[in-house]
Amino acid sequence: MAFEVVADSLGAQAKDSSKTVANIAVRRRRETIFKICGLLATSFGLITLALLLIDLAAAGFPRLSWDFFTNFPSRRASQAGILSAWVGSLLVILTTASIGVPLGVGAGIYLEEYGRRNWLTSIIEINITNLAGVPSIVFGLLALGLFVYGLGTGRSIFTAGLTLALLILPIIVVATREAIRAVPAALREAAYGIGCTKWQVTRDHVLPASLPGILTGVIIGISRALGETAPLITIGALTFIAFLPDSPISSEFPFVSFSWLFDGFTVLPIQAFNWISRPGSDFHANAAAAGIVLLAITLGLNAIAIYARYKLRKKLQW
């Protein structure tokens, strides 16, 4: 029986060889069609992006000058600058990162390495995944209720940092967990086998091996936070600020001051939004210029991330 089947299929194969040739031609054609479709899809995105960038650059470049960075916003478009906006963005991101990164990486390590697989960790896991899909305006509403009114942290840089930290927490947690999960089991076994405690395994082996991946998550999160507008407007970021937050360096002991945390602020995307919503092309040019600066910061961050990842990978010596 079995033999007959084999013989049959052999015969069929021989007969089919001319069919196979035709078949290959069809397959080739399909491949070409797919290639063209793929190329079109890719270039659609690229061309749109390029057009956008060119448009932005054409509108904004003439406004980019030293004064633009050192001036406060003004009623006159030609004198308006982004000083308060970029300082605000910087301080908000600093606060966001200082809160979000340790929390996110810590939670990721806990869930992956320490958390037992039980209903509690399952609930936490589901929540974190859901959190990543929550619209940012909802975070703003939450922050307004919880931080501004509940805890009385005010419409401050601190509140903004907390809010954005919450927003990017799931991104960092998920990236951390994935990076940790990608660490080969053999490395863990080697470390345990030599008598490492769990913490030593984590700190000396798992974390260094997963740092490049974690870093990527952190940078993606921070880039996202940098561009957020909605939650910050919700918590009451100002749109017209003609002063800087308190200086973080003071002349008296202990020489650092954190009172800036509780100052009002604005950030680059809000400033840009404010300008674009005004009538008059002068202000629109300002908005484009602010957009260029924001874009440059984001790209710069990504460049740093890529460089750091490259350095870390080299240090790992796989």
Partner: protein, 273 residues
């Protein structure tokens, strides 16, 4: 395995000098291991003599690795694994609640099937263990440990000029010797080796076998192997596992020339496994 090779095993055995066993280093009593519902190891009772090489042989999936991992409690790292019974090292129950498993793993080193050096420099690979266990008081102490361990593992001459190179850049055989050196560096009393040569070519294998023979002077060695030849060459005692049961255990001599159990006989003559 053919009749030819079983003859050559007999010559291997005959060529080996008489061995005098010391006291027992490890004794396992009625050890059972469960992976969830799966009963992987059934009532294993065996003694392992000190300063000798004991080989575990048996078909794939019979529980050799599982038993080996009981001896340094590596099974603790598998959440679903459950171990019952008693394992004593120097008459001390290693599953005692008061026993520090980190300390235990410093006393019972392990070498894995696939060489797994840390993605760090050759020096760091060796120095890491002594550092975390506080075995070196100074930098020069540490240097000495690194050098001595690499020498004992027969790797020193090959790497002494490139200690800061990556451990993962070495050849497979060198990596495995690096892993052995890493295990030696924390001065264990027992070294567990789970198929240490299965990823290596014959020359590298011969090198490791030589090394095992030298290490026997100072360490108690337990080796899992699929190569009957290897077991015959390097071990003084052999235990045969089958389907989670320890079928037979005795001097390597007896197991390979005059086994009691027909299953052992069948396995060593290559009728299954």
């Amino acid at each position: 395995m053919t009749a030819m090779s079983s003859v050559s095993i007999k010559t291997t055995i005959a060529a080996k000098p008489e061995f005098k066993f010391g006291k027992n280093k490890v004794s396992a009593n009625n050890v059972n291991v469960f992976y969830g519902d799966k009963h992987a190891l059934k009532d294993v009772t065996v003694n392992i003599p000190e300063k000798a090489v004991m080989a575990f042989i048996g078909p794939s999936g019979c529980g050799k690795s599982t038993f080996l991992r009981c001896l340094n409690r590596m099974n603790d790292t598998i959440p679903i694994a459950k171990v019952t019974g008693k394992v004593e090292i120097d008459n001390q129950d290693i599953y005692d609640k008061a026993l520090d498993v980190v300390q235990l793993r410093a006393r019972v080193g392990m070498v894995f099937q696939k060489p797994n050096p840390f993605p760090k420099s050759i020096y760091e690979n060796i120095a890491y263990g002594p550092k975390i266990h506080g075995l070196a008081a100074s930098k020069s102490d540490l240097n000495e440990i690194v050098e001595a361990s690499l020498k004992k593992a027969g790797l020193w001459d090959e790497v002494k000029d490139r200690l800061s190179d990556s451990g993962t850049g070495l050849s497979g055989g060198q990596q495995q010797r690096l892993c052995i050196a890493r295990a030696i560096a924390v001065s264990p009393e027992i070294i567990l080796m789970d198929e240490p040569c299965s990823a290596l070519d014959p020359i590298a294998t011969a090198r490791i076998e030589e090394l095992i023979d030298e290490l026997r002077e100072n360490f108690t060695i337990v080796i899992v192997t699929h190569s009957m030849q290897q077991a015959a060459r390097v071990s003084q005692r052999t235990a045969f596992f089958h389907l989670g049961v320890l079928v037979e255990e005795g001097t390597t001599d007896t197991i390979f020339t005059n086994p009691n159990d027909s299953r052992t006989q069948d396995y060593i003559t290559g009728r299954f496994g």
